[in-house]
Structures are given as structure tokens and as C-alpha cells.
């Protein structure tokens, strides 16, 4: 019997050996397809070696290659062809997550893995929920506007242009008029039809007198090139097998390869090398069981808020004993997640929330309210309609309601009538929330990260306010048997914040390290604050801006 299982799973898995070799890379749009890919010798100093190919690194690799730079981008994960590699199955698709061990502690230890960490070419966008939102302009200046957090060194008006670029690059499907924030161009593709779960969010908002909107999503509502329109299969959060989802894997990465970038899959970076002059000289990485070294004129670390500080800390040497880019002592510090609590209930009608993208409707009301008699906290939040698959839903029932035994089995039978509203809430930067190195090592022989996290009192007040609001809205929509999920968090940010002052930040507005001038950081780590929206669009917008700035600096001879 075990023989048959081996037979079933053995066929040349993309997670077993690298696919992007021999002058070609997988074409993620075609079964068995390949596309020609330029390759660079390791002894040749490429313009940019980029560690990570997600929303930050993948986008930057594309833009830099299109600007004419030579680029090699590394990812520890496999290079998937979703059409042939992805199943409609929660357990199988854990293969797209970063499931290597990480130690979590603090008063509110984070859930990692499938909750927030991808290990694939395309990074976490392979499994993200496609929610594509712009920051509220004031969030780039929370300290000067609201008196909390810290200001970004970026101007929202400039970011607005880069949001336009990202929304076009991903053909975001959204409403003609978005009801919150400054005017923006109409979304490139029409909004998706609402499923019943989203209609519940709308009903609640209309009953309570708040606004709602179809959620802008990075999955196409009409054909686009080789992407078919979304067929509403509802497995977005574990990897789209039809390529309707506009992940980095199927958008920026093929563009990057066509522009001359090389992608190295299954390549785990272990150390960034620096010379006596204090400049980065390249990246040590493990591929095919061998430690190798790629020379580079510039190194970009884009591993997201855990792997980025981990690599910088692992790269400590005599000249930089506390890790690279760390003269401020802030590498690994100010880790921020977002509050992801929810309120759940049961409708009389059949809802069948497994159909369609899980979050088809949004209510950003409280992202745009600064003063209110009930508002006893700083910061903002929004909520989205929900559609968890069975394992994910069981985890809510067991985690929040502590159900097991017959009680669990019976409650789960209400699955097709369940509805929910789930928040994305701003958490405050705190230095005590941080990534450090544990003593244990992983399969690469590298020390694993320890992630320490505790909510602030403000975080707790914001969460309680949001739970109260979501409960009222859900009740107003007609839901019964309402209960609260008090413990969840999601996206990651911080650990290498950008700023104007080398003493209080790790990189400048261009994502360039203050200490090692040819070292750059380009992912969610650079966020000084997080706002109340999902971060992927902002990460991509910052990457687009960074590429343009690098082009300008290069022309001026300032790289």
C-alpha cells in the first residue's frame, strides 16, 4: 500500500529539484510549458541579486530588468505551474506555504505558516486572498497627523501614481466608484458578482448606515491574455489552479524573465557577503545541495518580515557584528501584524460560502473615522466578508469556541449557513515585538528565527471596538448564533523600517540601507506603520517606486 502512495507522489515534483535551469524557466501559464530565460555566471557581477520573489522582490526584479539592469532573483520555494501542480485540496496545498520551523513566543504568539508565509516563486501572493487596497493618504504620516506611530518618508501623492501602476499591472477587478479616500481611476476590470456571504456584509452596512463596496481583487473578471475569468471555485487562499488570480508568479515574474532577469528557484540564501570597504559583494545560497556564491554589484533582501531580518542577522561578520544594516539596532524590531479577529453567525438561508473568492465585499468605514464618542483607541480597521474552507473553519470552531467531540461535529454541519465578518486592523509598532535568532538550526544548517509578539493595550481596545461593530453589523444582516473569534492575526510588516534618520530607521525612502550603501530591502519589512488594509498592493507600489529611483540614481552615478 505504501508503494502505491510513493508511486502517486513521486513524479518529478517541482519541490524536489530546480526547474529554472538550462536556459529556460517554467511558463506558469502552460501545462508543461517553458520560456527561454537568460542565465548569468556566478563569477559575473550582476547589477542586482535579489533574495525573494514575492510582492517586493518579484515586482522589483521585473521593473529593474525592464530598466535594463542585469538581475538574478533567488527564491527558496518551487517554481510552480499552477495549471498542472495545484489541486483543489487544503492539505495538499500547504506545499505553497513556508512551513519550516519558527519558534513563537511573547504574550500573543503569532501563527505562522499558512497564516502569512509563502515559500514559492511569487512568494505569499501565490496564496494571498487578492484583496488589493490603497493606503489611506494620512497613514503615510500617522505621527504628524494623528500623533501615533511614525511617519513614512514617502508622499502619498507619489504613491497614488504607483498604486495606479500596480492596479493596471494586475488588472484589478473593482467597482466604478470606490466610496472611500481620494478619487482614483476606475478599476481596470469590472467588479465581481457578490456571493451570498458578501451580500450579508452589504445588508449589514445598509441596515447600520455605513458604506460597503465590492472588494477590489487581483483576480480577473474577464479574460486577460492566458488568464481565464475567475470561475468562483473558492480555493484562492491555497493557490489558484486556473490562473485567474493575478499573483506575482503569473504577472511580474514572466515579465521579468522576458526582460532578461534570471530566476533561481529552490535557492535558499544563507548569508550576504560584505568586503572590507563595507559594501555587499554577493549572496551565498544553497541550491541542489551545494552552497554557492553569486557576485553582485547590489544586493536586495526581499524575504518579508521574518526572513529579511533573519538573513541580515545571519550575515553578521567582524565588520558588522550585529548583522548587516543594523547600526540603528532596529533590524528585527517593530514587527507588526494586523488584527484579524472575526464575528461569525448563522443565516436561515443557505449561503454556501465556499463559492467565489472569500472576500468579495468590504466595509472600510472605520478606516476613515478619526473621532467618535466610542473610539477609545488610535488607529483604524476595516472588515471583509468571509468564506473559509472546511479545515480553516474547523480551526475557528476549535480555536475560538473550544469545541471538540460531538459538539464540534454537530456545529460543523451548519457550514453552509455560516457567515462572518473578519477585520484587518492596524497594530502599533513596538520594539519588543521582534525577530531574533534561536539556537536551533534548520535543514539548511541555518539558525531558525524566534518571533516574539505581544499586543499593546491600544491594539486590544481597537480589537474590542471592531468586534462590537462587526457584531452589530452581522446581527443587522439577520445572522443568529453569533460568536466572536478573538485571537487571530494575519499580515506581517516592519523589522527593517524606512525613515529619514539613520539612527531610527534601517533604510531610507528608496529602500536603501543607511549602512551598506549597495544593500537594499524591498518587502513589507520596510513599513514603519501598517494602516488598516491588506499590504500587498502597497508592497508592490513601493517596489515600483524603488525601481524608478534606482534608475534615476544610476543615471546620476549615485548607485
Amino acid at each position: 500500500m505504501s508503494g502505491s502512495i510513493r508511486h502517486i507522489t513521486a513524479a518529478a515534483e517541482p519541490s524536489d529539484s530546480p526547474r529554472a535551469t538550462g536556459g529556460r524557466a517554467p511558463d506558469p501559464h502552460r501545462i508543461g510549458g517553458w520560456m527561454p530565460m537568460r542565465e548569468y555566471p556566478e563569477t559575473e557581477e550582476v547589477d542586482f541579486a535579489i533574495v525573494g520573489t514575492g510582492a517586493g522582490g518579484g515586482t522589483l526584479a521585473c521593473k529593474l530588468a525592464e530598466h535594463g539592469f542585469s538581475v538574478v532573483a533567488f527564491d527558496a520555494g518551487p517554481f510552480w505551474r499552477p495549471l498542472e501542480d495545484f489541486a483543489s485540496d487544503e492539505t495538499e496545498q500547504t506545499k505553497v506555504y513556508w512551513t519550516d520551523e519558527r519558534i513563537v513566543d511573547g504574550e500573543n504568539p503569532l501563527k505562522m505558516g499558512g497564516n502569512n508565509s509563502g515559500k514559492s516563486v511569487g512568494g505569499s501572493t501565490v496564496h494571498f486572498q487578492m484583496v488589493s487596497l490603497r493606503f489611506r493618504p494620512e497613514w503615510f504620516k500617522t505621527r504628524s497627523t494623528f500623533g501615533y506611530g511614525v511617519d513614512w518618508p514617502l508622499d502619498w501623492r507619489e504613491m497614488w501614481r504607483y498604486y495606479d501602476e500596480v492596479e493596471q499591472a494586475l488588472k484589478i477587478a473593482g467597482p466604478v466608484n470606490y466610496p472611500w479616500g481620494p478619487p482614483r481611476p476606475r478599476y481596470p476590470y469590472r467588479a465581481h458578482e457578490l456571493n451570498a456571504a458578501a451580500q450579508v456584509l452589504a445588508k449589514g452596512a445598509e441596515a447600520m448606515g455605513t458604506k460597503w463596496a465590492p472588494c477590489p481583487l487581483a483576480t480577473v473578471s474577464a479574460p486577460r491574455g492566458l488568464s481565464p475569468p475567475c470561475v468562483y471555485r473558492g480555493f484562492c487562499r491555497i493557490g489558484c489552479s486556473t490562473n485567474a488570480k493575478q499573483s506575482v508568479l503569473i504577472t511580474w515574474i514572466p515579465r521579468a524573465i522576458r526582460a532578461g532577469a534570471e530566476i533561481r528557484d529552490l535557492a535558499m540564501a544563507g548569508r550576504v557577503e560584505t568586503n572590507q570597504a563595507g559594501r555587499a559583494t554577493g549572496v551565498h545560497y544553497l541550491r541542489n545541495g551545494q552552497w554557492r556564491f553569486q557576485k553582485a554589484r547590489n544586493v536586495v533582501v526581499a524575504g518579508y518580515s521574518i526572513e529579511t531580518p533573519r538573513l541580515l542577522l545571519l550575515s553578521a561578520n567582524d565588520r558588522f557584528p550585529h548583522g548587516l544594516a543594523n547600526s540603528s539596532g532596529l533590524v528585527g524590531k517593530n514587527l507588526m501584524t494586523q488584527s484579524n479577529q472575526a464575528v461569525w453567525g448563522v443565516m436561515d438561508e443557505e449561503v454556501r460560502w465556499y463559492k467565489g473568492p472569500p472576500s468579495l465585499a468590504i466595509n472600510e468605514h472605520w478606516n476613515y473615522v478619526d473621532q467618535h464618542p466610542t473610539k477609545d483607541f488610535v488607529g483604524h480597521y476595516q472588515w471583509l466578508s468571509q468564506g473559509p474552507l472546511p479545515q480553516e473553519w474547523a480551526a475557528v470552531q476549535t480555536g475560538s469556541r473550544k469545541l471538540w467531540g460531538k459538539a464540534l461535529v454537530e456545529e460543523m454541519k451548519k457550514y453552509n449557513h455560516q457567515v462572518g465578518l473578519k477585520m484587518v486592523g492596524e497594530q502599533q509598532p513596538q520594539e519588543r515585538n521582534q525577530v531574533t535568532l534561536a539556537d536551533e538550526t534548520d535543514q539548511y544548517g541555518l539558525r531558525i528565527p524566534r518571533i516574539t509578539y505581544s499586543w499593546s493595550d491600544n491594539d486590544k481596545r481597537l480589537i474590542q471596538h471592531a468586534l462590537g461593530q462587526m457584531e452589530q453589523h452581522l446581527r443587522a444582516a439577520g445572522a443568529k448564533e453569533i460568536f466572536r473569534q478573538e485571537d487571530d492575526t494575519n499580515h506581517l510588516h516592519g523589522t527593517a523600517r524606512m525613515g529619514d534618520d539613520p539612527r531610527t530607521s534601517v533604510v531610507n525612502a528608496d529602500c536603501r540601507s543607511w549602512d551598506v550603501r549597495n544593500l537594499w530591502i524591498c518587502d513589507g519589512s520596510v513599513f514603519p506603520t501598517v494602516g488598516g488594509v491588506n499590504p500587498s498592493e502597497t508592497i508592490q507600489a513601493v517596489a515600483c517606486r524603488t525601481a524608478d529611483r534606482i534608475k534615476q540614481l544610476s543615471r546620476r552615478g549615485e548607485l
Binding site: D89, G113, S117, C230, V231, G356, L389, Q391, W404
Partner: protein, 214 residues
């Protein structure tokens, strides 16, 4: 098969429809073919684990049980991680081995027998003590029983159950859905390839309709 809410619905009837692509069939076929004997655990640990699984997810006697111990065993055999571990817990293999041994120790203490030999009321009482973190002692070492329960026992067993087509059918879930997906998205709308929920007094009609789901 007992299925009171969705009588006659079996998600496996859709296996050869456009809702299941080849890679999904491969994955689910392998899951259904899992060996039913221990490969990671010892025979003795397997007995304890099986009894724990029976209490966390009690299954009806009139259908083939979802072989939950086999899935937990397979996860540990492959050492397939979750991507994080509470600092107070040892790695998952050690946590499970220590937790099952400690549970047996505590069963002897309160009932004079191993866990799987206790009656279900005593088994549940012990599991509730574990859930509240009230089990401790040399056999537990520095592993908090409460964390072992909430972060190993519950997720590893319940996620195994809800990964199985039998559980999908039980809750009326549509199951795999590529490439066909769904068309009817609104309230009280179902595609012909979705389960029919039995309304009171109409179980027979639902059963007939569920035989045609595909």
C-alpha cells in the same frame, strides 16, 4: 452512510466530473489509500492515539470511519510541520510521544488502566483536564498539557478529519472545484453539482436529488 442533513450526498460521486482535475484525483486517491497501521508510532502509542481520536471526533458506527490515527501518524512520519512552534513545546514528534505516554500515566493514576481501556466518561474527563492544563508531572516534563492539547491534539486530529471526503459530505461542502468552479452565487442557490440540504419532511426528495449530484 449516516448523513442526516445531506442524505445520500457523497462528494466522491463528483470524482469523474469537471469539478476534479487530475492532480486533485491523485491527491485524494492517495489519502483514501493511506495504510491503516502505525508507521511512526509504536503499537502501544497507536492504541492511545486511536482512543484520543475517537473522543475528539466521535464517528458513527454505520459507516467506515475516517482513519484519523493513520493521518496523524503519516504527518509525523513525514515530519510535515506547520511553520511555527510555541516556544514552550518540543518539536511535534517529541510532543506527541511524550503527550501520549503522559496521558497513559495519568490514566493509570486515576483509573488504574491505560487510557484506551478507560470508559469514555473517564477518557473525556482526562482530556478536559488536559485542555485546562491540569495534567502535569514528570511524564509531561516541561511541556504544558494545555498547549499540547490546543496546538497538537486538536489541530492535528480535526484537520485530518476535515481533509477527508467523508467529512466534506457530512457538512454538505462542494469539495474540489477545478476547473468547473461554481455559477450560482446568491442566497439559497445551488448548482446541480452541489449537495441538497434536506428540509424537514423532504428527506426522501433530497436523497433522490443528491444521487444525481455530479
Amino acid at each position: 452512510m449516516t448523513n442526516d442533513r445531506y442524505p445520500g450526498y457523497d462528494v466522491l460521486d463528483k470524482r469523474n466530473t469537471p469539478s476534479w482535475n487530475e492532480q486533485t484525483r491523485r491527491v485524494v486517491d492517495a489519502r483514501l489509500a493511506i495504510p491503516r497501521e502505525p508507521r511512526f508510532f509504536s503499537e502501544s502509542e497507536w492504541q492511545t492515539l486511536s482512543a484520543v481520536c475517537d473522543r475528539i471526533i466521535p464517528q458513527p458506527k454505520d459507516r467506515a470511519p475516517v482513519p484519523l490515527p493513520a493521518y496523524v501518524d503519516a504527518k509525523l512520519l513525514a515530519n510535515r510541520g506547520d511553520g511555527f512552534r510555541n516556544a514552550k513545546l518540543p518539536p511535534q514528534r517529541e510532543a506527541w510521544k511524550r503527550g501520549l505516554a503522559a496521558l497513559d500515566r495519568d490514566a493509570r493514576r486515576i483509573g488504574g488502566a491505560r487510557f484506551h481501556e478507560l470508559d469514555v466518561a473517564r477518557q473525556d474527563a482526562l482530556l478536559k483536564e488536559m485542555e485546562r492544563g491540569e495534567l502535569s508531572g514528570p511524564a509531561w516534563g516541561n511541556m504544558p498539557s494545555k498547549l499540547f492539547f490546543s496546538q497538537r491534539v486538536i489541530p492535528d486530529i480535526t484537520s485530518s478529519y476535515y481533509a477527508h471526503p467523508t467529512a466534506w459530505s457530512e457538512i454538505g461542502y462542494g469539495g474540489p472545484a477545478a476547473p468547473r468552479g461554481y455559477v450560482r452565487m446568491g442566497f439559497d442557490r445551488r448548482d446541480p453539482w452541489e449537495a441538497v440540504e434536506a428540509k424537514p419532511g423532504q428527506e426522501g426528495a433530497a436523497r433522490r436529488e443528491n444521487r444525481r449530484v455530479g
